[in-house]
Symmetry: C2
Subunit: 461 residues, 2 copies
Amino acid sequence: MTDIRTELMTLLNENRVRTDADSLGQYGLDWTRFHTPAPSAVVFPRSVDEVAAIVRWANQRKIGLVPSGGRTGLSAGAVATQGEVVVSFDLMRAISDFDPVERTVTIEAGVVTEQLQGFAAEHGLYYPVDFASRGSSQLGGNISTNAGGIKVIRYGLTRDWVMGLTVVTGQGDVLRLNNGLVKNATGYDLRHLFIGAEGTLGFIVGARMRLARQPRNLTVLLLAVPELDGIMSVFRLFNDGMPLTAFEFFSEQALGHVLARGHSQRPFESASPYYVLLEFEAPTDAETELAFSLFEKATEAGWAVDGIVSQSEQQAKDLWRLREDISESITPRRPYKNDISVTVSKAPAFMRELDAILAREYPDFEVVWFGHIGDGNLHINVLKPEDMPIDAFKRECERVSQWVFELVKKFDGSISAEHGVGLLKRDYLGYSRSAEEMAYMRAIKQVFDPNGIINPGKLVP
Amino acid sequence: MTDIRTELMTLLNENRVRTDADSLGQYGLDWTRFHTPAPSAVVFPRSVDEVAAIVRWANQRKIGLVPSGGRTGLSAGAVATQGEVVVSFDLMRAISDFDPVERTVTIEAGVVTEQLQGFAAEHGLYYPVDFASRGSSQLGGNISTNAGGIKVIRYGLTRDWVMGLTVVTGQGDVLRLNNGLVKNATGYDLRHLFIGAEGTLGFIVGARMRLARQPRNLTVLLLAVPELDGIMSVFRLFNDGMPLTAFEFFSEQALGHVLARGHSQRPFESASPYYVLLEFEAPTDAETELAFSLFEKATEAGWAVDGIVSQSEQQAKDLWRLREDISESITPRRPYKNDISVTVSKAPAFMRELDAILAREYPDFEVVWFGHIGDGNLHINVLKPEDMPIDAFKRECERVSQWVFELVKKFDGSISAEHGVGLLKRDYLGYSRSAEEMAYMRAIKQVFDPNGIINPGKLVP
C-alpha cells in the first residue's frame, strides 16, 4: 500500500494521490449500493500524458485501474472493490476550441454534462443528451456508457455526438480517433468501439463533441392514461402525427414518491394509474394546436382521460420534474433497478407479460415503473422493504430478474438498455448477447488490455 | 480449379456457381480500373446459412473470399485478383418485416440502394443515404463502406441508419447484432465495428434499417461562384441561416464534361470557375424567401454572381444532374480519384494549399474538382491524357498523391473520406491512422478472421 502510494506520487504530485479512508470510500463507489468500496488509492491526473503514465505503471505493477467520472452509474461499472487504483477525471474539466461553423467543441473527460449544456447555451446552441444526473455525470462516463436519457427519440444517444475521441488503451497507447471528421472511411472505427465499452478497453480522456441547433419553444404535454395498453396507443398517435423530442411514461406509484417530497403539485385532480409526458418544439401556435387535436383523439379513444400543456418554460420544467425526480425520490429505498428495452412495436405485448410476472413474483414488494417508452426502454424499480436486510433483498430481486431476463430474451430485447453491464449485470449478459458475441468481446478486450488491468471484473471478466 | 468448382457445387447448386470467363471478369472487378480480375469462381448464396457454409469451407481450404455487392466501389475493395472465390449477394434482395411505427425494415445484403429508397417512398417514408450509384450499389456494400453521399450534412452516413446487422464472421460464426434496438448498453457494439470494415472481418448478410420521414418540397439553389474562397463563405452564410439537406460544389471543368454529353443545359449565360448547389426543405414560401435573402447577401459580398432556384421537382432533378453526372461523364477518361476530407473550418486553407499543389504538380493534366464541401469532403479527379499508358498515368498520379496526402496529414484529415481503403489506398493508410491504430486494426482482423480468408489483401493486409 505504501509502495503504491509512493510510486504514484512519483507520477503525480502528492496532493493528487489520495489514500485517506473518506476518499477511498467516496471514489470507490457509484450510485449502486450493493458493493463495499476498497480501492488502494485515488489519483487525479491533469493530462493525457499523466493518464498514459499511470496505465504504463499499472501494467508493470499488474494493478487494476478503475475509471471514475461523476460516479452516477447504476450498474457498478465504476466501483473499486479489490484494491484497484481509482483514476478520477475531476481535474480534467476544460472545454476548448469551440468552432461555431462546425458546431463542435473539445472537452476533457471530466467535463460535467450540465457544464457542456451550459456552454452550448451560451453560444446559442444545444447539447441534447440529457438525463436527471446532468449535474454530476461527466462526459467521459457518458461516452463510456453511451448514455441515452430523455431526448433519444429525437437526438439519439451520446454516440451520435462524438466526432473524435482521445483514449489511452489498456496497453498505454494514446489514440486520437477520427479527429472530428464528418467523413472518414479509413478502416475500423475504433472510436465506436470505445463508446459504450464501459472503460474496459482503456480510458476516454477527451473528445470532440458536436452540438445541435437550439430547439424552439419546447412544450410539454402531460396526459393521464388509465390503462397500461393505452401508453403505446398514445405513442403511436403522437409519433405518427408530429415530431416529438421526448416521450416518457411513469406510474402513479412513481408519482407518489415524487409528490411525497413536497416539491411538486399533483398535476390532475384525480390520480391515474399511468402518466405520459411528451415534448415537442412549438415555434408557432400551429404545433400546440396539432398537439391539442391529437390529445382530443386520444381522449375520444379512451386512451387518455386528462391532459395539461405547458404555457411557459417554467411550467414545462415543473412538469418535467414529475418524471425526472422519480429516481432521486426512491433512492432512500435502495431500489433494485432493471433497465430493459425491446423494439417499440413489441413494447405493448412485452409490458403485458412483464406486468404479470411482476404481480406474480413481487406480491409484497413495491414496484415503481417509468421509462423512455418512445425508445422501448423501461425502468423497473423494486423498492426494498424497510425491515429487509440488503443481502436478502438483493437475492430475492436477482431471483426475479431471471424471470424478467427470460422475458427480455424471448422478445430479443436488451437486459441493459442504457445503464450498462458493469458488475451488476455481468453474469446475465448471455440473455442479450450470444456465446459467440461474448467470445469476440473477450478477444477484443485481450487486444486492448492484455494484462487485464483496466476496470477489471466489469463487463467481460 | 475443378476441385474448387466441384466442392462449391456441393454447397450450392450448379447454376449458383460460375467459373466462365465472362463472369470471372465481371465479378472480379469494381469501378476502379487498375487491376486485372482473376477469381477462381463466383458463387451466389441465397441465405445466411449458405454464406456461413461457404466461409467454413474456405477456412478448411484456406481459400480467400471476396464479398461482392453492386461493385460500384472506387478503392478496389471488392476486386478479386488472386484466385479468390467471389461471393455475390445478387440473389439476396428481399425486403421484409416493415414496421410503420418504428419506421424500420429488414433487408438482405443484395438489396439495391434505389430499391430501398423506392420501398420507403411507397410507404410514405424516405431512405436518405443517397449518391449517384444508387441504381447499382447494394446495401451490404453501403454498410461495409459506411457510404456517405450527398445528404450527409442533414442525414448522416449509412452507419446512422443501421439498427441491426446480421454478419458471418471470418471464423464462420453467425452474429445477430443489436436486433433493431434503439437502446442497448450490453457491451462492445460489434455492429459499428463491422460498419465500414470493407468486408475484412466477415460478410454483412442482412440488416435492420431505419427510415426517415419524407422531406417536404426539396428545393435546389444553384449559385455561380467566381473564387475558390467564396465556396466556404457561401457555406457559412447558408448553414448558419437555414437548415440544409445538401451543400455541394463543382468546378467549371467538371460542368464542362457533363454538358459535353448533351443531356443538360448550361445553367447560366456565362461560365463561372465554380458552382455551389444547395438544397433545403421548403414546406412554405418562407423558406424559399429566406434562401433568396441569403442569396442577395452572397451577391452583395461578391461571393456569388448568379443564381437559380428550382420551381418544380423536375427542375430540382435537372439541377442535381449537373452535379451528379460528373462521375459518369469522366469515367471514359479513367480518372485517378482522390477522395479526401478535412474538418469544415479547415477547408478554405486546405483548398488553397491543395490548389497550389495541383497547379504545380499536374501542369499538363486535366484536374476535375467537386465534392460534398458541407462535410469537408473533396473529390479530386485527375484525367488520363488520351495518349498516356495507364501504368505510367497511375505512377504519375501516385507520385502526386504523396503530396496530397502529406497535406491531408498536416490538416489532420482523411485520405479516404467515403470511398474506403481497399487495395488502392492501403499503402497510404499511415497518412490518416497512426502506427498504433493500425496495429490494433490488424489484431482485430486476427480475432475475426484468423486464417485471413476474408477479402484478403484489402485494408489490413
